[in-house]
């Protein structure tokens, strides 16, 4: 068991308008995750520290923080893999609410804008247990969107994206990847409703394929690929719109 130093960017709006760095010493061994270290600070050293967490297993997507300038999930990041000096900050490009907690409303607004759910053409009838009508999908149809369906909405890609940092109106990698995921789904017919949202300057066209979003994604969704496949779709959408007049 060794000791590691952790510098955390604190922000307590009820006490001070400015943020400041605070240093803590935490015990660590090979199995200590960053989230474990934050727990240690909260429970043993300083109960005023605020941060989000829930599942501890990289599925809830709530413990994202900046580690030495790179967005990571606290639970999926182990101190053994990190340089000795650690600087922990709230996720970049979002307004900070308190300590390591950011206000993700922008992301949620962008997400809602792309309608990330199955949309059916036909009106959904009442469920008849005697004659259920299943949505059939072949493994090949599933394979088309599967990679993009692994998103856990953690927002790391937004903190990795300089285009979102430069312009928060940009829909951003996560929302665009999910839009693409539903556009690719054989059971969905909502593409018509999504394309006008994507084909805006603040939609797919703000992306310059920096690609860092895909590097930091803890679920290997490759949002950069999804966004740029979305550009191909937006180009098709434009051609169709031009011919229809």
């Amino acid at each position: 068991m060794t000791h590691r130093a952790l510098s955390i960017r604190r922000y307590l709006p009820d006490q001070d308008q400015a943020s400041y760095w605070q240093r803590y010493e935490v015990p660590a061994d090979d199995s200590t995750s960053l989230l474990d270290a934050l727990h240690y600070v909260k429970e043993e050293l300083d109960s005023t520290l605020s941060y989000r967490w829930s599942c501890r297993m990289a599925i809830c997507g709530s413990c994202g923080v900046m580690v030495n300038g790179i967005p990571r999930l606290g639970c999926k990041t182990f101190l053994r893999d990190l340089p000795h000096e650690l600087r922990i900050e709230p996720l970049a490009h979002f307004p900070v609410a308190r300590d390591l907690i950011v206000d993700m409303d922008v992301f949620l607004d962008h997400l809602a804008a792309v309608k990330p759910y199955l949309i059916e053409d036909a009106a959904v009838g009442t469920f008849d247990p005697a004659a259920p009508t299943p949505h059939r999908q072949t493994p090949a149809q599933l394979a088309r969107y599967r990679q993009f369906a692994n998103c856990i909405n953690c927002g790391l890609c937004y903190s990795a994206c300089p285009q979102f940092g430069l312009n928060p109106e940009f829909l951003g990698p996560g929302a665009l990847a999910l839009a693409h995921r539903y556009n690719l789904d054989s059971r969905d017919s909502g593409k018509q409703a999504r394309m006008p949202v994507l084909n805006r300057h603040e939609g797919v066209w703000s992306c310059t394929f920096v690609g860092f979003c895909s590097q930091v994604c803890p679920k290997h969704v490759d949002p950069a690929a999804a966004v740029n496949q979305g550009k191909v779709e937006a180009a098709k959408h434009t051609l169709i719109a031009l011919f229809k007049g």
Binding site: P162, L166, E169, G203, K231, A234, A235, T238, L239
Partner: protein
Amino acid sequence: MSQPRPSSRQAFDEPLWWLLFSAGGVCFAVLLPATILFFGVLAPLGLLPSNAITAERMTALVFSLPDLAAIGALICLPLFHAAHRCRHGLLDLRLGNDGINKWFMYGLAALLSFAALSLVALGLWR
């Protein structure tokens, strides 16, 4: 929290710029290395056979119908590729106004492309 309603204006011009950018990117990557190697490096260093790029031979080669397509791939499309990256580079560096940068960059690329194609066409016609 209430965000200002996002603009719903469709970016109908962006697909054109992006397709030109992508096509130009392919040309820059596949065709330009050899072009730069032969005309920017080997020829000036005198490493090509002496009769390879004489004015007579080059005139016959360049002022020909297939060369219109070659100039499109070697000059025009890479110009639009460069214009697109310059425009986004200015956005990345927060320089200028994108509405103006955009038309300046693509306008310049279009103008230079027109000049290059016109030269070939004029040479062909002569």
